[in-house]
């Protein structure tokens, strides 16, 4: 590996810890980030000559802090200096070491950094952008590309988010157990959002947006290393791993969606699935269920099935039932209905989704599923109506193309009560 490549990987992996610690010293996101950037520049000069330090994060924290303190002293800005204790010269190596080994600091620094990014004052799009910029260290250009917006627009989004966070009250004292768990919950939700941004891409943008999925997985693993015994974080990580494992099989060459049942399962990434299954196994032992674990367990049942017909739909139905209790939503019920239809037939599925019609009257998937049930029941005219509505509501060309395929099939075997179209 070239110098630049390994240094880049080392800087990326040290970033959350280093920026988090610098933020604790300077209590200002911009100062912390600038200090880290300066430390990185020095690393690029010094590491190729001297080799990597034993602990890159500690090196970056120390250098970043010293450079920033010099800058603050030199600058004649009317900026208040951080408290004395934050900049008192504690440069002897032992002090550094003692601090580094204090795991609680390390955890809370990273958690605080992530938590600042998902500040409740920020809209979700800004939260994600800020986290990718500050914690993951992606460039504005990379983030803009993944979000399919211009660089200028993304720059503005991040600047706004930073300004908002700067004005907000961010607690710096060590959080109590309750606060910590609240923060963890918000951070998990944000990581899930980042993943979904990438996962909900259409076929023609999946490649561009895949880095969002990979970044979310990296953050989830990081969080899990900090909170090793949190079953919901295990569940979240497992869910992302198993979903992402299917990336290579989800779209055809034209970018059209390939449904789970039709995917080439040999293209699923076995290593990611194995990791996801191991995590779900671990989480289950805690007997403290939660929505991420349930969703991961559903994904795991799909992943364990070598062929679509091996899928344990009865178990999936039960798990969706559990999810309905934890997080009631018409979309969850819609998903459950698909499982029910596999176990008890299309009529049972249809009965389950009828009550959802008023709430999902603008939801593409509702009409896609409804059309499929009607088609399986041989009620082709009604199926056609549902599919037409789905096409009108499609969010991407791939979604529309997929429904057109159903319509073509209806066209082909338009004998009433014809063959059941196997979905």
């Amino acid at each position: 590996m070239t110098d630049a490549a390994w240094i880049d990987a080392a800087l990326t992996s040290a970033r959350p810890q280093a920026v988090g610690a610098l933020l604790r010293y300077f209590r200002n996101l911009d100062t912390a980030e600038e200090a880290f950037q300066n430390a990185c520049l020095r690393a690029l000069k010094s590491w190729p000559q001297n080799g990597p330090p034993r602990d890159p994060a500690a090196w970056l924290i120390m250098v970043g802090r010293n450079v920033a303190i010099d800058d603050i002293r030199r600058s004649k800005k009317q900026e208040a200096l951080p408290e004395d204790e934050a900049i008192s010269d504690l440069d002897d190596a032992e002090e550094q070491l003692a601090e580094r080994l204090d795991g609680s600091h390390y955890r809370d620094d990273i958690l605080r950094l992530l938590f600042i990014c998902c500040h409740p004052d920020l809209p979700a799009t800004q939260q994600i952008a800020l986290a990718l910029r500050i914690v993951s260290g992606l460039t504005v250009k990379q983030i803009a590309r993944a979000f399919l917006v211009s660089e200028a627009a993304m720059e503005q989004r991040i600047t706004r988010a930073k300004a908002r966070v700067a004005d907000a009250d961010v607690p710096f004292e060590t959080p109590g157990a309750v606060e910590r768990s609240e923060r963890l919950t918000s951070v998990a939700a944000m990581i899930y959002l980042i993943f979904n941004e990438g996962y909900s891409a259409s076929g023609d943008t999946a490649e561009i947006r895949a880095p969002l999925c990979e970044e979310a997985i990296r953050l989830a693993r990081l969080l899990l290393r900090l909170f090793q015994s949190e079953p919901e974080i295990m569940g979240l990580t497992a869910l992302l791993l198993i979903q992402h494992a299917r990336a290579a099989a989800r779209f055809d060459a034209d970018g059209a969606v390939i449904l789970l049942d039709d995917q080439d399962r040999s293209k699923w990434n076995k290593s990611l699935i194995a990791e996801g299954l191991a995590l779900i196994d671990k989480a289950m032992r805690h007997r403290r269920s939660g929505p991420y674990q349930v969703q991961a367990a559903i994904a795991a049942l799909h992943a364990r099935a070598e062929k679509p017909e091996d899928t344990d739909w009865t178990q999936i139905d039960l798990l969706y039932g559990a999810l309905e209790i934890m997080q009631p939503s018409p979309v969850v019920t819609l998903n459950r209905a698909v499982a029910v239809s596999k176990v008890k037939g299309p009529q049972a599925g249809l009965d389950m989704i009828e009550p959802l019609a008023p709430r999902l009257s603008n939801y593409f998937h509702f009409f896609g599923v409804r059309g499929a049930f009607l088609m399986q029941l041989g009620r082709n005219d009604e199926a056609r109506t549902a599919f037409d509505r789905a096409i009108a509501l499609a969010n991407t060309s791939a979604e529309a193309a997929h429904i057109r395929m159903h319509l073509d099939r209806l066209q082909r075997d338009s004998q009433p009560r014809g063959k059941k179209a196997g979905k």
């Binding site: 590996m1 992996s13 990296r218 693993r221 299954l277």
Partner: protein, 122 residues
Amino acid sequence: MLYAILCYHDEDTVGSWTKEQDAAVMKKLAVVQDKLTKQGRLGPVARLLPTTSAATLRKDDPPLVLDGPYAETKEQLLGFYLVDCKNLDEALDVARDLGAANPGGAYEIRPVGQFVPGSVQP
């Protein structure tokens, strides 16, 4: 004499490699491995999944299962097993049986990501 070569690296850094970088490293390693294979000197090679997928069984009485990798610096790695198990519970059962035969210390239970069986005989 068979030697075990145990791989240590900063997981964060390895996890930050791009897919291409990772593949390039594996390719270079494969060259070294192939040479040993041709000489009939290579035994099993395993790349483990991340430590976040690990559980640890402390061989106390009763045995205690903890999440995460083994993190006790006072004890040393003295050996390892590779066992085919359906899931974590099955692996823990094996570890408990081994623990009953040899109390004290701990076993880290970690899924294997990639495995090359090798063919060497001591």
